[in-house]
Symmetry: C2
Subunit: 520 residues, 2 copies
């Protein structure tokens, strides 16, 4: 028995051993989900090194970690100008076709992609810094695969990587994890379909599934080129991503439609929904002053705090006609007759507000952080998707009967009023949202603890090979058993051919014999 105790002791010791983790995060809202994991790992005694560009929107130092910055060939002003211009172009439109939406989507992906690619080159070809990172001899890399840099570094240093991801453009995570996704009930991203599709929708979805590899190739053209140049061999991001040891998937099945997952995927949806804190006195007074009617929280995400005047007017006009108070993150032009029940703020404590018992509705663009905060706190939503995965996010909430959706392009005060009154007064929205909230919160282990555990697991065991499916060793033809089907057809044809030839041979022999007899 003594031996077993020693062994257990050793295991416990190895669990507590400090490791070295390299973190290559993605800028913007993505960092909100990764930061608590990184800080917790640092707090647990690991040496956590976060490498970020000198210029960024949300990236910065975090507690219990070492932050290293690297120079990039653009200024903060240039970056913001580029984003702002793109967003303004999208939001200021009035009538948009499906083609416009696609163009908007590509426009924004290009802006984000361009920054990623410039960061990627700046870091990878920064020889001094790369040597420094190499000397550190990390146990693992934690990265967001939306930005290709971390994945390429892990490949270069041959160290296991952990990917924390939300929704990857073109759904590259499916081929990279070899996760089956039957087109009959798994809607492709940006189709805005649910898991219940009509024949026509399933047809579009299947065609989208076939086109997916092409879309990925197009989206990752620059990243593929940089990776090949840097690693000095012909490669692609899909191939590099397929080497990930573990995927921390930022979704939960109260949100995502149920579908197959792979053993090296860990679901950590709702990781950023922190415990609510008390509101500042002025806000507490404002929301409590709303009486029985309660209040509405309104934000369009960290990237959109302004609206064209004509669009903003529709919101002000709608809010004037409701008894609820409104807290709106808005920095645009304020009309002179702005209603008094609206409090405009540069920034608002979204989660703390949503957790308040008087919160009646949440007007949101459908970004994942806000979405999980809304679910967690059981607040029905009016959703106005702007770009990226938001259209799909919104569709998922609408399908569950906990949200109404509006189009930013043709929004009017009347439409907004109808939607708001629906989610506030039709009890089914609140009831369904409370049920979703209860299910989401009822979990055996918190998403943050799960993310920390699995990152440490990869560091401890130098990967997670036992979770890697053998599908990675097969090519497309083999995976789909097309060679087997070909082989079976070959056997069938051979058998048929031999049978036919044998019959013919027998037939001819018989014929010859009978002719001989005749001749005799």
């Amino acid at each position: 028995m003594a031996g077993v105790q020693v062994l257990l002791g050793l295991l416990c010791l190895s669990s507590a051993q400090a490791g070295k983790l390299l973190v290559v995060p993605m800028d913007g809202s993505h960092w909100i989900g990764m930061k608590p994991v990184v800080q917790e790992l640092g707090k647990r005694g690991h040496q956590v090194v976060v490498v970020i560009p000198e210029v960024s929107m949300t990236l910065g130092s975090s507690e219990h970690t070492t932050t290293i910055t690297y120079p990039v060939p653009y200024t903060e002003e240039e970056m913001y100008e580029s984003f702002k211009a793109g967003m303004a172009k999208i939001i200021s439109q009035n009538i948009v076709t499906e083609l416009d939406k696609l163009q908007n989507f590509i426009l924004l992906l290009d802006i984000v992609g361009e920054v990623s690619v410039r960061n990627c080159e700046s870091l990878l070809f920064n020889k001094t810094l790369m040597q420094k990172l190499k000397d550190w001899d990390f146990d693992a890399v934690l990265t967001d695969p939306f930005d290709p840099t971390g994945a390429i570094i892990a490949e270069h240093f041959s160290i296991p990587s952990i990917f924390m991801q939300v929704n990857l453009a073109c759904g590259v995570d499916f081929p990279a994890t070899q996760c089956p996704s039957p087109a009959s009930y798994v809607p492709q991203r940006y189709t805005f379909y649910t898991d219940q599709m009509s024949l026509w929708q399933r047809t579009v979805n299947l065609m989208r599934t076939f086109l997916q590899p092409m879309a990925c190739r197009h989206l990752y053209t620059q990243a593929d080129e940089i990776a090949s140049r840097f690693l000095r061999r012909e490669t692609s991001m899909v191939e590099i991503m397929s080497h990930a040891a573990l995927w921390l998937m930022r979704f939960d099945f109260v949100f995502e439609f149920p579908r197959a997952v792979m053993p090296n995927m860990v679901m950590i949806g709702g990781i950023s929904a922190a415990k609510p804190k008390a509101l500042p006195t002025d806000l507490e007074e404002f929301v409590n002053g709303s009486g029985e009617h309660g209040f509405i929280v309104f934000t369009l995400g960290s990237m959109v705090s302004e609206l064209p005047e004509v669009k903003a007017k529709e919101f002000f006009d709608a809010f004037r006609q409701i008894p609820q108070r409104v807290l709106w993150r808005y920095t645009g032009v304020v009309p002179k007759d702005a209603p008094k029940n609206v409090k405009l703020m540069k920034w608002l404590p979204q989660n703390d507000l949503l957790a308040h018992p008087k919160a009646k509705a949440f007007i949101t663009h459908g970004g994942t952080h806000g979405l999980y905060e809304g679910i967690c706190n059981g607040v029905p939503m009016v959703m106005i998707p702007l770009f990226g995965d938001q259209g799909d996010n919104v569709q998922r909430m609408v399908a569950r009967g906990v949200a109404e959706t509006l189009n930013i392009y043709d929004i009017t005060s009347e439409k907004l009023l109808v939607a708001l009154r629906k989610v506030i007064h039709d009890k089914s929205y609140k009831e369904k949202m409370m049920k979703l909230s209860a299910i989401h919160r009822d979990r055996p282990i918190e998403p943050l603890d799960l993310a920390v555990f699995w990152t440490e697991f990869v560091m401890r065991h130098k990967g997670a090979d036992h979770l890697r499916p053998a599908a990675h060793d097969l090519n497309w033809v083999q995976y789909h058993s097309l060679d087997v089907i070909g082989f079976l057809l070959l056997i069938l044809v051979t058998v048929m051919f031999v049978t036919f030839k044998s019959c013919m041979f027998c037939f001819r022999r018989c014929l010859r014999k009978s002719q001989k007899k005749k001749n005799e």
Copy 2:
């Protein structure tokens, strides 16, 4: 803030609320995995009612639960005689072909199936007891789908069911959960293939995949008939099983080849590997007396404690030639010259022995309980599969380089010696097993806690609908998008036809014009 705290308080209260659980277990080794879950649930204050047949091998009362028995139309002697006769027939064979193995497999399945079916009829058509169970108004049913009874009762009472399963014959869990299993790397059960298959193996595997529904239909003929008769509608066990709220899968990926899983599957492999207890004094003395050579644990499972004399002789002869001591669960005939390093026992504390630091090897039939105890304690194995899923279990361990396998049909002392010496002296077996053990034990939550949590989850939320994939609403043609492909082909043919007809029309017009011109 107060509201949030109240809400959290309510949630916590609801978590702690006592529920009512009906348990319909499966006899034999299956009960070993379910019993700790059932007892823990009873301990946590739930009303747990276990319904078992009056005659059984391992079933009986458990702590903190209410056990109800129902009469069955056979005696204990008849049951044991039937099992013993079947086992003796299998083990006493000397040379067997693949066809013999298949016949043995079917023979044993028939014996087990026959008991299940008789139990099923005895319980379902026991009106008094069924009324009593109905009056209880259970929140959920926990059952082992190897025995159809529990699943049919859940369907009848319209209450959510939780299935705890090991390996279901014919892999019925794949269609029932709609879990994708590409034939290219997911070996079908009883093929004894690994996840790395040759072209020929993949061909056999694909054909087996196609034949699987037929095999299921054959295996569940009687159960399907009873279910249809009892529920008074045409149904099948596959359909009934597809309504399960949750599947507690008794495997871990240190054992099972990595493959896709569904959101309502919870992996609880190793649930029965308890914390080791101290050995009784006589055993402790015996194993410590083995010195540096250590000892070997040998059992062939709860159903096989005897061997034909001629086969037993091979084992005795081998053990005589090794310096290790051997603890063997054996009740058969003992030869006069039995070697002194062998201790024969009616029953042995398998897990406690394997946890001993002097345990060098484990001779086992490859049942899942022993297998996880071996993995957990890091003891290399010599495996002698006898029937059922054991051949596949063994293949998985051999593929990981932690075990050698032997055939019971042609075993000799020489072969046994070679295998034993290999796993004891070739350090790679022990090293790989220790690595597997470390990975298996390094988990964020214990399998027992996970099983208890998810059973309570289903009881609390009256199911787990948010984890049910929409694939269940599609038929086979729709699931595989065959209707979509047909639709696309129809469009293609129509377009081609219209194009052809238009061309023909134009061509004819041109021809007519030119003829007219000629005539003029």
